[in-house]
């Protein structure tokens, strides 16, 4: 159904463009309808054909190659952030499951992290990095990773802890009757039993890592990343509107690629578990 959905959206887009008001419209006095001028809403075919043309007039590379390279770059950065964030999250959750004191101390902050818009701390983390070392400033992709890790860490930690704590009591009693020490119980029972909780959180973490990386790239203009392209093409938006959309395409592909990856991971992890009613 996917391709059909996109055709449907493209159709809607063009249909609205043909009938909608150029300067945007008002519904009940509220400016609800988007602007339909070509500057604001380029034609679908303009956007797709722009992909084939070069980035700058007289340049040799078609823009899609530039966008693709940037997307690949950002994807790798986001992947690293995702992996580090997930490992950290699981590690902290294990510690919290083992030592009740640590759990009690950290838990409220984990809960808060899920409800508070921590993305706002982005500029701060970046600023901190700049302070940390002069030449880290040039390696701005590290800031992107850090922000990505920061955003990916929390959902994984919360979900892993919940999973580790939801082991069926009967199974725990079995392990106790077999005189299994805590760490073995962790590896053989708690962790496998927690997978149904961890897998969905990994999906969230993947998306969060992408968001963190893209936001950092946009704020810092990280060279080579797709965020930077959005930033600079956005500046050209008035003269060359479809250009911005090519970068947006790239970001969308980035998000989708990560989503596909985490779904594949999810399926792989859950292959031995009974199918859920979801």
């Amino acid at each position: 159904m996917f391709p059909l959905a996109f055709v449907f959206v493209a159709g809607l887009w063009e249909a609205y463009k043909s009938v909608g008001p150029e300067a945007g419209g008002k519904v009940l006095g509220i400016r609800l309808l988007p602007r339909t001028a070509d500057r604001a809403m380029p034609h679908v075919w303009d956007m797709t054909s722009r992909l084939g043309r070069p980035e700058v007039r007289g340049g040799t590379e078609a823009i899609w190659q530039v966008v693709a390279a940037a997307t690949w770059y950002s994807f790798r950065v986001a992947l690293v952030a995702f992996v580090i964030g997930a490992l950290l999250g699981i590690g902290v959750a294990v510690l919290m499951a083992r030592f009740k004191v640590i759990e009690r101390a950290v838990m409220p902050y984990l809960v808060v992290s899920q409800t508070v818009p921590i993305i706002v701390l982005g500029p701060l983390i970046i600023g901190l990095m700049a302070y940390g070392s002069r030449d880290l400033v040039s390696k701005t992709w590290i800031a992107a990773i850090i922000l990505g890790v920061f955003l990916a860490f929390f959902p994984v930690a919360v979900a892993t802890l919940r999973g580790l704590q939801s082991t069926p009591p009967a199974s725990l009693e079995l392990m106790e009757s077999l005189a299994a020490p805590w760490w073995r119980t962790l590896v053989k029972l708690r962790f496998p039993a927690a997978i149904p909780f961890i897998a969905p959180a990994l999906r969230l973490a993947g998306a969060a890592a992408v968001v963190g990386v893209v936001v950092a790239e946009i704020s810092l203009g990280v060279p080579g990343g797709v965020g930077r392209l959005i930033l600079s093409y956005g500046q050209d938006a008035s003269s060359d509107p479809p250009k911005l959309y090519t970068a947006v395409f790239g970001a969308a592909v980035l998000g989708l690629a990560m989503a596909l990856l985490v779904v594949a991971i999810d399926r792989q992890l859950m292959r031995r578990h009974p199918p859920e009613a979801t």
Binding site: R104, V106, V112, Q114, V120, Y131, V211, V214, L244
Partner: protein
């Protein structure tokens, strides 16, 4: 439990996070002082508190602006999402078209979508921002409610069958009430996201009176202490939304509690 035992166990629960928080803030303060970190890199906690105390109105006003945007979007998005899910339940095709869209929208980083819509809408007005939130909330609520409508309690369906009930009666009396837990869980999930989108949509220019623009403005500038004060404001708004929607879920769908805990 004896009194001292009670006190001890309550303390055991409350103390660790407080200790952790206090230690963290103390270390932060100390590090800034000792290393003589400039205030434009990272402010002292004491400076943040000063900024908050000096002119709380600044933070409150900005919080209200962003909060209202998020709230309007949350309410509208939930209502429209719910109605759409009920209507499209009858027509599978619509659901099949919207679902991949919802998945895609969820996958693309929100920031990017906001940026695109900025082009189309001019997010300089609050309306545009509220629209953004509405769209984001709509997708979350729509997907969850549609899922809930597909879960049918077989015993209740057989019961209604034995009453020779019309499909409309079944929808109104059984299927929609059974969807309520899904709806309010979706609202609880969407609430923090509403706040985030409201914040992020302010990054893209327009009237600079909301938290998002203030935060990016000050954190990128020199008055970082004030920036942090705004961050605190934003956190409180986020917490309020979460608490409010959790409370709503608790009140309206009390039997859900039972299922989760018992």
């Amino acid at each position: 439990m004896k009194f001292t035992a009670r006190v001890r166990s309550s303390l055991a629960v409350i103390l660790p996070p407080i200790v952790l928080g206090v230690v963290f803030i103390a270390l932060w303060q100390a590090w800034v002082e000792i290393k003589d970190v400039q205030p434009f890199v990272i402010p002292k906690p004491s400076a943040i508190i000063d900024a908050l105390r000096e002119d709380p109105d600044l933070v409150v006003k900005a919080s209200v602006v962003t909060g209202v945007n998020a709230l309007v979007g949350l309410v509208l998005g939930s209502v429209i999402g719910f109605v759409a899910a009920v209507l499209t339940n009858r027509y599978r095709l619509v659901g099949d078209l919207v679902n991949p869209l919802a998945v895609t929208v969820a996958a693309v980083p929100a920031v990017v979508i906001v940026g695109v819509l900025n082009n189309m809408y001019a997010l300089d007005s609050q309306i545009g921002r509220r629209l953004m939130v509405t769209i984001a909330v709509f997708f979350i609520v729509f997907v969850q409610v549609a899922k809930g409508l597909r879960h049918n309690n077989p015993t209740q369906m057989e019961l209604m069958d034995s009453y020779a009930a019309t499909p409309r009666q079944v929808l109104l009396r059984v299927r929609i009430p059974n969807t309520m837990p899904f709806l309010f869980t979706a609202i609880r999930t969407a609430a923090p996201i509403a706040v985030i989108i409201a914040l992020v949509s302010e990054y893209f220019g327009g009237t600079q009176d909301g938290l998002g623009s203030k935060i990016s403005g000050t954190l990128n500038g020199s008055n970082k202490a004030l920036g942090f004060a705004y961050v605190v404001g934003g956190s409180i708004v986020g917490l309020l939304f979460f608490a409010g929607s959790s409370l709503l879920e608790y009140l309206v769908v009390p039997w859900q509690r039972r299922r989760v805990h018992g």
